[in-house]
Amino acid sequence: MLTYIIRRFLYSIPVLIATSFLIFTFVSITGDPLGRLRANPNITAEQIHSIEHDKNLDKPVIVRYGYWIRDAVTKKFGTTLFGSRPIWPDLKRVIGHTLQFILAAIIISLILGVAIGVYSALRQYSVFDYTATTLSFIGFATPVFWLALMLQVLMVQIFLKWHVRIFYTSGLSSSVGAGHGFHFLLDRVQHLALPVIALCALSTATYSRFMRASMLEVLNSDYVRTARAKGLMERRVIMRHAFRNALIPLITVVALDFGGLFAGAIVTETIFTLDGMGYYFVNSLFASDPYPVMAWLMVVATMVILFNLIADILYGVFDPRIRYE
């Protein structure tokens, strides 16, 4: 087992290096970061040449990749192209906020998705099952950003009609009077509630559909029939034999969904102006600055690879049929 973990960990290193090269070439070849400066009549060709020379933009892509990797490792991704602002302190701050936000969304949608999926499978073709199915189909068709907008619209209408503020529609905390201790926590929850709901909807739909299918498959398997035949209580059959086995494949689904949550974070954070990774990414893109964009992509790729690694290991822990040799 331990050798498997180590080998799997070592294997992810070349994957990460290949990804870093893909990211660098992709971002470099898709655009000219100085395009806007070139279009500016007040900036002469010499000035542009000197910027190109300073930032090594006149070298071939492969050489620039070498410089970039050096800076990424030794200087924590270096500085932005315009304004020479260090990237890492900003990125470190927003990573913390976004992880809070994404982990909350994963936990909530896992609880909801598993509960709905299992209950749907146990009461197949019941009213509850049909309602859950319909809702998840609507969930698959609803863009995350529109759901976020509708939640904002709803809160704004409630506020305009009855002057009650249930949840805030933008920011991470109130700028004044956020308070300390419990009040700070409550304030944070009031701010994060809507973005988390918006982010959870799609994942909950995915997990519940998957859990339903997985549970139905397990309920029709031979060992469940055996468990029933030897006279176990239905409750025990479902909790000990069916549920625990149906849960295993969900690990892979959650791991694959992890990257998608970052995509969801891009839109929800932009709409709710949360100081997180998604908002940072969109702002860097608008500023046409390639280096924070590359750093962002690199951090997300690392996290996705790491998360998949953890998922693989967990799969091995929970599924004894998998043997590592």
Partner: protein, 327 residues
């Protein structure tokens, strides 16, 4: 069932081919009716006839097809249906809530939101269908080559797939849309097609990998058929089902992606109305004007929902191993 229909169903192979039955003569009609009445079903149906029957029995899919035709039709004929043009300004109704004259309300420039949504459907449908066609073409060609030969096509497919396994698709799309330039629907559709063909390619590759080992492919090879003939005549027809299903679903994905890109400001730019761009404008004008963000979004949800149902219906209908007609 009329005799014409019965005759159609006796047809084996494409209509007009050498395998078609000769036209039935007068007396044959009654005997066919008789066998039919006594439950002695002898009719042979082509795969397509089975598929069509199964699809039309799938009520949800059929209903969705009708709804989607209505919505896309309204978009295509927007210039005939829309009560106003998409940039016509009504100074007497600035930011007006929905009313009898403007059923979806107006924006801060006094433009009719309903008309703009109709024109938006036209743009979004165009992007969706273009992406569906293009990515199916690219995906089928590369996936087919990858499955049949391996080699460079397989390598390309695997590398692009790897990229999307570690990076969120939306982030990659945003970077590409930002730097490659955006604005026109056709450009955006090309960009989307060049990034989302991998799903269809993977399906075709998988199918070709397994079909390559089939006896009839071996037989065709033994009979001296070339690679191209084997791929086009023997393998591709057996993959049509999954290709059609995922092409349909791709249209829905493309409409969602177009909406989110335009909403974030990296997709279709004003003044061209697209559903995502309308939501962007709606948010800019303040979400207390709820009608500006509600209606275009509902239209997106209905379109994508219907496309998903149609995809489901097609999946059931085009699976040749499934003979059971769904009620």
């Amino acid at each position: 069932m009329s005799s014409q229909q019965v005759r159609d169903e006796l047809t084996i192979g494409p209509p007009g081919s050498q395998y078609s039955m000769p036209p039935a003569e007068g007396p044959a009609d009654s005997s066919e009716e008789l066998t039919y009445q006594y439950g002695l079903e002898v009719e042979a149906r082509s795969q397509w006839a089975y598929a069509r029957r199964r699809f039309f029995r799938h009520r949800l899919a059929l209903g969705s097809l009708i709804v989607i035709l209505l919505i896309f039709g309204a978009g295509v004929f927007a210039n005939l249906i829309a009560p106003y043009s998409y940039d016509q300004i009504n100074l007497n109704a600035l930011s007006a809530a929905p009313s009898r004259h403007h059923i979806f309300g107006t924006d801060s420039a006094g433009r009719d939101s309903f008309s703009r949504v109709l024109y938006g459907i036209r743009t979004s449908a165009r992007v969706g269908i273009l992406v569906g066609v293009l990515s199916t073409l690219i995906g089928t060609i590369i996936g087919g080559l990858a499955g049949y030969y391996g080699g460079w096509a397989d390598n390309l497919l695997m590398r692009v797939t790897d990229l999307f396994l570690t990076l969120p698709l939306l982030a990659v799309l945003l970077v590409a849309a930002k730097y490659l330039g955006h604005s026109t629907p056709t450009k955006l559709a090309l960009l989307l097609a060049f990034l989302i063909w991998t799903q269809i390619a993977r399906i075709v590759r998988g199918s070709f990998l397994s079909l390559r080992e089939k006896e009839y492919v071996e037989a065709a090879k033994a009979a001296g058929a070339g690679d191209l003939r084997i791929m086009l005549r023997h393998m591709l027809p057996n993959t049509v089902g999954p290709i059609v299903v995922s092409a349909t679903l791709t249209i829905g994905t493309a409409i969602l992606l177009e909406a989110v890109l335009s909403f974030l400001g990296f997709g279709i730019q004003p003044p061209t109305p697209a559903l995502g761009a309308l939501l962007n404008e709606g948010q800019d004008q303040g979400i207390d004007k709820w009608w500006l963000v509600t209606f275009p979004g509902i239209v997106i949800v209905i379109i994508v929902l219907c496309i998903n149902f149609i995809g489901d219906g097609l999946r059931d209908a085009l699976d040749p191993t499934q003979r059971r007609v769904r009620a």
